[in-house]
């Protein structure tokens, strides 16, 4: 599809919006619908769109597979790490109350934020990784 101008332009316009929307979903998940998972998928989908339009090579330059590999693991590590942090701070595993010693609710908030971040990173990286795998196989 490299030769169709309109999709390219539209994509160029849309892509920042999509990524922005993903970030919004990511961090607004506490208030409205959404959260790390949905954000991750949207982010991934946006990227996949980019790859579809501009070609795999360009996408790979923008988001190298090595980075994705790190991202895939990193998200899980963040999530599990928050859990372990709870342990170290004297709570149960995944206990966010202890993250903030003064205000448990704030601790919860913080914990959820971090955890959702982990989910988002993993999910988006996984989506793009899988897409790369399929797309890279075809050529």
């Amino acid at each position: 599809m490299k030769h169709y101008t309109i999709p390219r332009v539209v994509t160029k316009l849309l892509l920042p919006l999509i990524l922005l929307f993903a970030l919004y979903v990511q961090f607004h998940g506490d208030y409205g619908p959404g959260g790390g998972f949905q954000a991750g998928v949207i982010f991934g989908a946006g990227f996949i769109l980019y790859a579809l339009i501009y070609g795999l090579d360009k996408a790979r330059r923008l988001m190298p597979p090595q980075v994705l590999r790190v991202g895939v693991s990193l998200g899980v590590l963040i999530y599990a790490g928050v859990g372990l942090l709870g342990l170290l701070l004297g709570g149960q595993y995944l206990d966010y109350n202890v993250l903030d010693s003064h205000d448990p609710a704030h601790g919860q908030h913080l914990g959820i934020l971090l955890v959702e971040l982990g989910v988002g990173i993993t999910v988006s990286s996984v989506m793009v990784t899988i897409f790369y795998a399929f797309a890279g196989r075809g050529r």
């Binding site: 899980v76 859990g83 149960q92 595993y93």
Partner: protein, 493 residues
């Protein structure tokens, strides 16, 4: 940290998995996997010790009380299961490196991923075992299932792919059935915690919904544990998986599925509902008997030894379900101790076979001629495992068979006892076919086969010796199994 052992049990392999994926080469990844799985083993041993000394442990994830949060609940039964899974996991991990590095058609840069998938599978199985939450079972079931599909598919034979695919479809259907069952239970009780479910179910146990939930859970777990006639995915999956994977899955995956079934039947639904209202034993009994006989017969005619062992696994699962259908302490003790013993047996058999195919290149019967002489240690371990499978005294396999027969006789079921013994003879036949070829057939001319490397032999022999040890000292396998059986029959754990 002692108080957090239940969480660490699962979290350590879980955290090591992504770490493993980040590592650049196979060796360090293997080291990480090794360390994590041996740590898990250590934790499992400590947990079992604690449970035996102080009674069941309850661990609240995130500190949320039951039934709002997710609870980890460790009693004699699952501490025992954890030990099995973690022990086999650790030993197979030690075994795996040599095979992965030299016998898989896997590019070097993918080796870390193999270990990652292995750790994830371990994580999933441990997670299923330790959790006290019905939905959590489903989540971890999927972790272990997905990773095992991937692990099976890296087998050298292209049929491994088809086997993995079949397993994927069957496994997903099974998991979805379990999901439906859990959903129906949830709609009737409004809770997902197993203990809470057990407390609230009797009030609604007359409803059809609960019955349907029971049916779906039964079928779902039956697929997962390869109960005859839902076992069709198993022989291919085990036959074409790489040998460490086959050893690991054969020794643990179906066992954990059986554990899930026991947990739902006995703890969640309760003995009375499962076996008096639903008459489950009337269904399980014939199925397990037919399964034992037919799978043993099929095993005799296999020329691929791995496939033969896989069919034998189906038959052995039949023994375990037979014990369950007896609904007595002796029968359950037989089942639960057979979980342990069969893990040892199949672990050592598949690993010994892995050694053979490592040197010979295939696990076909005719290729094993003369191997007994050229690989004495390997075949020694195979023979020990085989004897244990047959149930010869002084091996672990005898213990569970003993309880099974006692259980059958207690009920006065003579034909069942006779059948159990008769099918042991079938095991003699198929094991002896291998032994005969390996020891008494001359090796083909010009074929030089050396003994397997020590890195493979040591883990294999560790399990083989365990077969002997637990045939002598049965306080762990039979003793704890008995405790667990009493716990199951005595109501909530």
């Amino acid at each position: 940290m002692i108080a957090h052992l239940p969480a660490l049990q699962v979290v350590i392999p879980l955290v090591s998995a992504p770490l493993c994926a980040l590592l650049p080469a196979g060796r360090p990844a293997w080291l990480a996997a090794m360390t994590a799985s041996w740590l898990a083993f250590l934790i499992a041993a400590l947990l079992l010790y604690q449970v035996l000394a102080h009674g069941p442990i309850s661990y609240l994830m995130g500190g949320w009380p039951v039934p709002w949060g997710i609870e980890y609940r460790v009693d004699a039964l699952n501490a025992y299961m954890l030990l099995i899974v973690a022990a086999i996991g650790a030993i197979v991990a030690s075994f795996g490196r040599t095979v992965v590095e030299q016998r898989l058609s896997l590019p070097v840069n993918k080796h870390p991923w193999f270990y990652t998938a292995y750790l994830l599978c371990l994580t999933g199985l441990l997670g299923i075992t330790v959790t006290g939450d019905a939905f959590n079972v489903f989540v971890f079931l999927e972790i272990s299932a997905l990773s095992s599909y991937a692990l099976i598919s890296v087998g050298r034979d292209r049929r491994a792919l088809v086997a993995a695919y079949q397993y994927l479809v069957m496994g997903t259907v099974g998991a979805t059935f379990i999901l439906i069952g859990i959903g129906l239970l949830y709609v009737m009780t409004g809770t997902l915690n197993m203990g809470d479910l057990a407390a609230r179910l009797p009030a609604v146990s007359g409803t059809r919904t609960v019955r349907a939930a029971f049916a779906f859970l039964t079928v779902g777990t039956a697929i997962k544990l390869a109960l005859f006639p839902l076992h069709l995915w198993l022989p291919n999956a085990y036959a074409y998986a790489p040998s460490p994977v086959a050893a690991f899955l054969a020794a643990t995956a179906t066992k954990v599925a059986i554990y899930v079934m026991l947990r739902f039947f006995f703890t969640v639904f309760g003995v009375q509902f499962s076996f008096e209202t639903m008459q489950l034993d009337k269904i399980l009994l014939p199925l397990s008997l037919v399964g034992i006989v037919s799978a043993s017969l099929v095993a005799i005619f296999q020329t691929n030894v791995k496939r033969m062992l896989a069919y034998s696994s189906v038959a052995q699962i039949g023994y375990m379900m037979l014990g369950v259908s007896l609904v007595s302490v002796a029968g359950l003790t037989a089942s639960i101790s057979h979980l342990f013993n069969h893990a040892l047996i199949k672990g050592s058999l598949f690993m010994a076979l892995g050694c053979v195919s490592y040197r010979v290149g295939a696990a076909r019967l005719e290729r094993m001629a003369g191997v007994g002489r050229s690989m004495p240690w390997t075949m020694g371990a195979f023979v020990i495992g085989g004897l244990s499978l047959i149930g010869v005294p002084l091996t672990a396999g005898f213990v569970s068979k003993w309880y099974l027969i006692v259980g059958a006789l207690e009920k006065g079921w003579w034909p069942v006892a006779v059948l159990v013994l008769a099918t042991s003879l079938l095991a003699v036949v198929y094991i002896w076919r291998v032994v005969e070829v390996a020891y008494f057939k001359p090796a083909p001319e010009g074929l030089k086969v050396r003994e397997a490397p020590l890195a493979l032999l040591i883990p294999t022999w560790a399990l083989a010796l365990a077969n002997l040890y637990f045939g002598l000292d049965t306080s762990l396998n039979a003793g704890v199994a008995r405790l667990a059986a009493q716990g199951l029959l005595g109501g909530a754990p």
